[in-house]
Every structure is written in C-alpha cells, then in structure tokens.
C-alpha cells in the first residue's frame, strides 16, 4: 500500500472530510499559514476558500465558543489549536460549555465538533510551548479524546471524530509528523473507543499513547533481542478507554508498564493503573505497576534538561527491567 507521512495523512483527511461534507469547516489560528501547523493544512485555503478555512485572531476562548455556536446551528467545526498550551485560554468554553451542553439541557441540544489539539514540544521551547495536557480533558465528562500514533490512525480517527456527533478532542503530537506508514487513499474511519495491540508478547504489557507508542515499540524491539517479550497496547482513544483490550492483555502478561507523554500525577498512566488496581486482575499481578511519564515539573528549555525530561525507549526499558526484577 501507499506510504505517506503522519502530517500528510492529517492533511489528506482534512481535504477529504471538507470536500465530502459541506457542514464541515476548519477554524483556528494559523490554519491558512504555510508553517503554523506544519504541513497539515497545505492546500486547504486554495481549495475551499476563506469561508470554510477560517484563520482567526488569537481569541482562543471566543473562537472555541464560536465553534460550539456554529455546531448548534447545524455545522461541524474543526477547531484547531496549533499548540496545546493555548487551550487553557479556552478551558471555559471546553469544560463549562461544550462538555456540558448536551447533558445540561436534558439531551435536547448537541455539540458535534472536533477540537484538534496539537502537542508541539522539544527544541528548547520551554514551559509554555511544550505541554501535553490531554489528561486534563480526560477528567471532564462530556468530551471524547483520541490520540493516534500512526499515519493510518491519524487519518481514520480524524474522520471518525468529525462523524462522531459529539465533542471530540483529537490529540496529535508533532514528533509524529514525519513518521511514514501505509494509508489507504480513500476516506475511512477508525472506531473511537477501540485500541489495538501493536505487538504481541508474553512477559510485560506496555500500554502507550500517541508518540509514546513509537518509543514503546523501539524498546520492545531492543528487549526482544535480550529474550524479553513485550506486548504493546496502543489505546488510540483515551476516552472512552478500550478496557477489554487493556484487561485482556494484562491478564495474559500479569505485568504492566504504562507509558504516556503527559505528567505523572493524575495523568493517563495514573488512570490506567487505577483501572487495573480496581479490577480482579490486580490480585494476579506478578509485580507492581510502573508509570513512565513526565516528571511533575514544567518543561525546561535547555536541551541538556529536555533529554532527561521526556520519556523515551531507554526509560521504558529500565522500567520493564525493574518490573521483571520485582
């Protein structure tokens, strides 16, 4: 099959969704820029025009609320955040309004919209240009969250988000943008709420999200050479979580490491660990669960510090070896 990059897969999904459904439009700061959101929006403004590809002032809270209003009027906005850090400006509209609009009025109103949230970090960008706050949204009822790790899922989950009929936070990590993979040319969707086993193994389950799936795969390949067999579970959706996939894998290996690119405290890894701790699998575990995630510090600027700040394959390998020694 044809191979394209993660960024090209997003771009293709956007082209195809917007061409297919005239209710869909893209709005947000930088969506007509040739560089602001990488190459993901290339060609959209020329093809669909400023009516449907709306570049905006930096009014994140207003534009996010406007996306809700447009959804209530029957359209499907894709609201773009070129970096997650600026989503805090829009938290009122996301958490108080978008997430509550269906429930609060007894189900009579719907908010079908996609919040495209980009993790943009590394390169000494420091504390306010590096954040991966997907776990913040997991805490809020009323929004679904997806986080693709391959070009195939990047395209299919973006299509699924738009078809969902509910607010979906679509999280992507720019560290994945150059990764290549097989992607069908036609439009297709990947189901929300379903994860996938990326690699089958026997000794330890590594549950990973987004870019960390890639690091987990590298770790598992290296451990394989040492005779350690790792099962890598890619969640793909953070909410709803594919619990049956998670439980089935951990039941088999009876050891668990959870790898996530967000902070440790109350993060994705904490939630997954708690799910296992609450389940009847917990008693059969051969070792304690280990979380591999960001330390509870802001992102540093210096590359010397970034090197130890971001989890990677080495850190995953160390965690797995620790689990196997316990």
């Amino acid at each position: 099959m044809r191979r394209i990059s993660f960024a090209e897969a997003i771009n293709e999904a956007l082209h195809q969704i917007i061409a297919k459904d005239d209710h869909v439009f893209l709005i947000g700061q930088g969506v007509t820029s040739p560089w602001y959101v990488g190459s993901t929006t290339v060609g959209l403004i020329d093809r669909f025009g400023p009516q449907r590809i709306i570049d905006t002032p930096t009014s994140e809270n207003c534009i996010t609320g406007a996306a809700l209003g447009a959804a209530l009027a029957g359209l499907h906005p894709i609201m773009c955040f070129p970096r997650m850090d600026f989503m805090y400006y829009a938290m009122d509209q996301i958490a108080n309004h978008i997430a509550n609009w269906h429930y609060m009025f007894g189900g009579q109103l719907s908010a079908p919209l996609t919040i495209w949230a980009i993790i943009n970090r590394g390169g000494e960008q420091a504390a306010q240009h590096s954040q991966a706050i997907h776990a913040v949204f997991m805490h809020i009822p009323g929004v679904k969250i997806v986080a693709p790790s391959t070009p195939y899922d990047a395209k299919g989950l973006l299509v699924a988000s738009v078809e969902e009929g509910n607010p979906v936070v679509y999280v992507d990590d720019r560290w994945l943008y150059q990764h290549e993979g097989e992607v069908p040319e036609e439009i297709y969707s990947v189901p929300i709420g379903k994860g996938i086993v990326r690699r089958e193994g026997e000794d330890v389950t590594v549950v990973a999200t987004s870019y960390m799936v890639y690091e987990a795969m590298m770790a598992s390949e290296r451990l394989d050479k040492e005779g350690i067999s790792i099962e890598v579970v890619d969640l793909l959706s953070l909410k709803p979580l594919d619990e049956s996939l998670l439980f089935t894998s951990v039941e088999k290996t009876r050891r668990l490491a959870v790898v996530d690119g967000g902070w440790k405290t109350c993060g994705v890894a904490a939630e997954i660990s708690a799910k296992i701790a609450e389940s009847d699998i917990f008693g059969s575990l051969k070792a304690p669960i280990i979380r591999v995630s960001l330390p509870d510090t802001p992102a540093p600027a210096s590359s010397a510090l970034e090197k130890v700040y971001y989890p990677n394959a080495e850190r995953i390998i160390l965690a797995i070896k620790k689990i196997l020694e316990m």
Binding site: P57, G69, A70, G107, Q108, P112
Partner: protein, 336 residues
C-alpha cells in the same frame, strides 16, 4: 425620556403587538413573583438557585418581539424572562425549577440552564459572559449558510468585565456577523455596584473600540427596547454587522433568591423605590390605557388569565415525577 416622547413612540407600534408585549411582560412578572414565594422557607418548594427577573421584563420582551422564531437567543443564569419572552411554555419552565422529569431540560439543568431548541433558545449559561462567543458562532454559521437569521445574546453588566466580552465583540465586528449583544445593565454585579467593577460604566461605548454600533436605551421602556432591537435586527439581517445594546434597568430582588437584600446594606430603600416607581409594566400599562389599546376591565381579565396559567404551571410541576435514578448517566453523549 419624558412623557410626551414616550407617547409618540407608543403610537407607531401596532396595537396587536403592544397587547402581546403586555401579556408577555405580565407573564414574566406573575411567574417570577410566584417563584419568589415558592423559594421561601420553611417550605422551600423550589430549591434550585433562582435569579429573578422582576423589574427587567421590558428587556427580554422588547428584544424577543423583534425576533422571528428561527432567530437564536442565548441566555444567562437569570434565564426565566428570556425563556418566556421567546415563547417558552410555562409548565416546562416551572417543572424545570422543580427539577422534574417534565422540565424543559428534563430536570438536569435547573433554573440557570433552560433551553428550547424548537423555539430557538439554544441554551443559557451560569458562567458570566459564557454564551457570548456561542451566539457569535451561531451567527457565523448563519452567515456561512446564507440563512436569514440573527443571533442574540443576553448578558448582565457583570459580563462587561469579562475578557470574553471583548474577544466576542471583536470577532463579531471583524466578520460583520448577524449577532446582537444585549447588555442588561441592572446596576449590580452580584453585590457590587457597576461603578465598582468598570473603569468606564458606559458599556454601550465599548462598541466604539470594535468599530461597531452601540446604543444605550431605557431598559424599562419596552417600546424603546423593541424599536432599538428591531433596528439592530434589520441591520444584522442586511449584513451591516453586530450591535451592542445597553439596556439600563434594575432588578427588584437580590442577585439570587426571593429577597430584596435591603437589610444587607447592599443598596438603599430610596434607590429601590425610585426604580419601582419606574415599573416597566406600569409604564406600558399607562400608555396602553391612555391610547385605549386596552381597557381597565381587559387589564383585569389579562391579569386573571395570566395568573391562572401560572397556577396551572405550578400544579403541573408539583404533580410531575422526578427523573428516574437510572437517568443519571444518560445524555452525557449523544447516542448514534
């Protein structure tokens, strides 16, 4: 505005509309007065926090009568008047205040979260200023869909000290969107007088910074509100962009609940008396009787009919069932 000017204003609005406006304002008043009673201890039949609209009836009514059914309205925590003015059913509203299954939000919203999608009331938010950008977005959609509809957002003077107000005015004017910002300046942001919140209390003039129309009206004069709103709606429909309307008015009760808050020292008896002497319903009533649009006996008939409708709504709410417990987890997401 003096008596003579108001008289001339009244004459160029069709009598039938004036009568309907009168009935609607009275509905809001009688409804809210009964809600106030039902909130009182020891019985506290209504528990959900209610921000009463008594004294501000002319704003919701004047604006909503300038709209069509397809036009959207977004409301606030002080939502009852907007719901009734947009044509909402009193039974569904009262049942929501009782948090019953038959309420307009099926008992999930309470007083601050009422909606009626069929009437174009697309929600109300308890977060101050929260519905401003949502109304802007609806207007954006209308312009993209070439729909001949406008979007209205009601908000209080307190919302003028939220950042979202300025973001919303800017984007609405930048894109020339068919949205009308209706500020109900009732002179108090919860317990603080407006002058303690805003460096410049001329809220309507904030529009100047965003190159859009802004106007201040007597928010207790329903005819003036109606005419100003009509002009703003025409402008919005004809592509002239948004308008900010500041309606100067006054709430007779406290920020929340049935009491007038005079004993708390937040405002003076004299101030309340002054505004009660400018009762928006009495002001209209005087005009209607003077111009023989209604008679004294008709007035009594209308009042009686409105009271009966409100009592029926209370009976309906009292007799309605609560939501089933198993309904707790429903409606978090739309099911496909």
């Amino acid at each position: 505005m003096n008596e003579k000017e108001r008289t001339s204003v009244a004459l160029d609005v069709p009598s039938e509309i004036l009568r309907k406006i009168y009935v609607t304002m009275l509905k809001i008043r009688v409804f809210e007065e009964r809600v106030a009673e039902l909130l009182l201890p020891p019985k506290k039949e209504i528990v959900t926090p209610c921000h009463l609209y008594i004294g501000q009836e002319a704003v919701a009514t004047g604006v909503c009568f300038a709209l069509k059914r397809d036009d959207y309205v977004f409301s606030t925590h002080r939502s009852h008047g907007h719901f009734i003015a947009k044509g909402g059913n009193l039974k569904a509203l009262m049942a929501e205040l009782y948090c019953k299954k038959t309420g307009c939000s099926r008992g999930k919203g309470g007083s601050m979260h009422v909606a009626s999608s069929s009437l174009g009331l697309l929600g109300s938010s308890a977060i101050v200023g929260g519905t401003m950008p949502i109304a802007v977005g609806a207007a954006l959609a209308f312009s993209m869909q070439n729909r001949d509809a406008v979007s209205v957002v009601f908000f209080g003077d307190g919302a003028a000290s939220e950042g979202i107000f300025y973001e919303s005015l800017n984007f609405a004017s930048l894109k020339k969107l068919p949205v009308i910002f209706v500020c109900e300046n009732n002179l108090y942001c919860t317990h603080l007088p407006v002058a303690a919140c805003l460096a410049d209390t001329n809220i309507y003039r904030k529009s100047e910074s965003f190159a859009m129309s802004g106007i201040r009206v007597d928010g207790n004069d329903v005819i003036e509100v109606y005419k100003v709103a009509k002009k703003a709606v025409e402008d919005a429909r004809s592509g002239k962009g948004p308008t900010l309307i500041e309606c100067l008015t006054y709430r007779w009760r406290g920020h929340v609940g049935p009491y007038d808050d005079l004993d708390k020292g937040l405002r003076s008896r004299e101030e309340l008396d002054y505004w009660m002497s400018r009762c928006p319903i009495k002001m209209l009533e005087k005009d209607l009787i003077q111009h023989r649009i209604i008679s004294e006996s008709e007035k009594e008939q209308i009042r009686k009919a409105v009271s009966e409708e409100v009592e029926e709504a209370i009976t309906f709410a009292r007799e309605s069932p609560y939501p089933n417990e198993n309904n707790l987890l429903h409606d978090v997401f739309e099911l496909k």
